[in-house]
Symmetry: C2
Amino acid sequence: MDDGLISAPAVLGARAMARCDLLGVAPYSEAADQLTRRFLTPAHRAALDRLTDWMAAAGMSVRLDAAANLIGRYEGTAPDAPALLIGSHIDSVRNGGRYDGALGVTLGIDCVDALATAGRRMPFAIEVIAFGDEEGSRFPASMTCSRAVAGTANPAVLDMKDAEGVTLADAFAAFGMPSVDLGQAARKPGEVLAFLEPHIEQGPRLEAEDRAIGVVTAIAAQKRLLVRLTGTAGHAGTTPMHLRRDPGPAAAEAILAIERICAAGTDGLVGTVGRMSALPGSFNVIPGAVEFSMDIRAETSANRDAAVAAISAEIEAIAARRSLGVSIELMQDLPESPCDPALTLLLEDAVRATGVEPRRLPSGAGHDAMVITDIAPTAMLFIRCRGGVSHNPAEAVRADDCITALNAILAFIANLERDYRS
Amino acid sequence: MDDGLISAPAVLGARAMARCDLLGVAPYSEAADQLTRRFLTPAHRAALDRLTDWMAAAGMSVRLDAAANLIGRYEGTAPDAPALLIGSHIDSVRNGGRYDGALGVTLGIDCVDALATAGRRMPFAIEVIAFGDEEGSRFPASMTCSRAVAGTANPAVLDMKDAEGVTLADAFAAFGMPSVDLGQAARKPGEVLAFLEPHIEQGPRLEAEDRAIGVVTAIAAQKRLLVRLTGTAGHAGTTPMHLRRDPGPAAAEAILAIERICAAGTDGLVGTVGRMSALPGSFNVIPGAVEFSMDIRAETSANRDAAVAAISAEIEAIAARRSLGVSIELMQDLPESPCDPALTLLLEDAVRATGVEPRRLPSGAGHDAMVITDIAPTAMLFIRCRGGVSHNPAEAVRADDCITALNAILAFIANLERDYRS
């Protein structure tokens, strides 16, 4: 047993990627022609069965916790040692990509496989975790399962319903888990040493800089808002242009203002209008109202809020100039969630050890790591994805990047072991 | 019997308005709290029963034609004389107004009532017609019933289905009219002398000029188009602004171009974006495509087409500048439909006789008159409506305007009689 770099057999890392490909089709997907693996579906069950086999083969003892998170534990040198958690979510969006979430789980398994093959045990345990629901693509809340682990899940979520009217409680029962108490999934203080989440970047920055992997500094601050501009509905054929109070062109001005303000911003500022609709929505009716969504993110809440304020002021000015009503409703407010500075330094050193100059970058997307922050220090490793495309069947990663990521994770574990002993 | 002005008892005209109010509630509406009277519904049947009573009381013989148009005939001085048709449609849009269509029918009944009360018969018959389906709010085609009268109905429309999957043929059967042959509703050459359609303006021009009534010159040319801009869907949090191919801001530029080009136009040019949607339509996804509708109208097809060409060129330039795909699909093309010049002159004289300086104006909306043009000269009388609001429960007319309209119709009949004899 030595304290130096742990080397992985060449097949590992690439195998993590191949396993995501295997999980990308039926029965691990609800649909034959696309990847849709939503929480507590038969596809989810099939994926957990497969992951259980892989975890066991890598030397882990496997259990399903009270929130349907699959956890494989590789003991440390002493029993009941606190655990380094490695993993991500195993659910997908509808018609999603194969690596979003799943790659973090399969890399975790390969990491343990490398340790077991090398006969190495750490003074801490390693647990590979596959969170059940990060995306919120079945029920109207996301990160339910990591919240359960953090002890922050609201028991009322068991009453929420999917599109077919099935409650989360009934879905658990149909999954073979009647009378679920999410609180039982909460980890006790001291059980979790740290959490490392490997995840595809879902953005184009690493690719643009030709880097295999990167280190996440923080998960961006996000606000979701719903804008409604109201005018007067009217007959499209009979109302002269100068007598209209049409909220459509006002919404158009607002959308261009969002683009302009965010493009001029710094600090990772992005703004997206993902939904827009005109009401009543007929070819031959001037809309009485137009609604559109705004998703505004930046590395810091302060920068994000400054952009929201500037955009809101422009929208209100546009509405006033056009004699329209306006409401801007805040739907969600997530402050920035920094990764643990000390743990992130260990990860940076580990990335450097693989020969990649560590690039620090924020995560524009939310991740389970921001939830686990409540109970343990967290770090996130990003893996380059082609074209920055995610939530899409075109999502793609490179096998050599996955090998680099695995080596970085192993180096991170070695760094953590060094610090843990000292 | 004299050839001079026919005077109406004071209650008439105002009664036409009051009768629309009566028909605006159950059982003449499908809903208790709004006016929805779609083709071949029990509400339609109830309205026809009531109109039958009113027509008979005014001295007309009443029949339902093969397309469920209700026709009351007031004979002329000779039997089997050709008929002046007066009327409009009795169906409504969902949650519509009480006067759109119905007022043309009830004014026709009051007109005959005035003639009968005065003991006057013309050398031509007068038929009051309540077309069954102008709006197309139940089945996916409009003006089915006036087309049947004009002999231009496509028999295939009997196979079209409503939202519940009921075919038009089945709906006729449920209405008590099995084995409908729309061709039987077609009028023979020479049967129809002319068609006068009184209708609310559905726009704000008469009100803006403080006029009770106006004379329609033509029904505007209209094109309906569907625009689709395509870019690349992406994660709202992870894609920097400068790396996006977002069709949303491009659609915004297009909507502003439509407004600018149409506002600068003349000749009744109007352009409306009534529908818009972003796909896939999630808060946190950059749209991969945006679709919006364009309804472009002008008094002449040439002017309309010039505007469509200018707008399309701008949209294509916007798409090219932003590296987006674009398609512009023509969904409907209706050329302008002029009213009969000689008949319109008679109507202008009649309007002048009521003390209103006749204002000629185009109709931005389509009407049954544009269909009946195929078999007879047509004229249209517009009645001022409050705020130009139509297709809306707030639709409103003034009783004194309805009286003025009735007097204009009576004067028009006198003018037509004078011309007919000479």
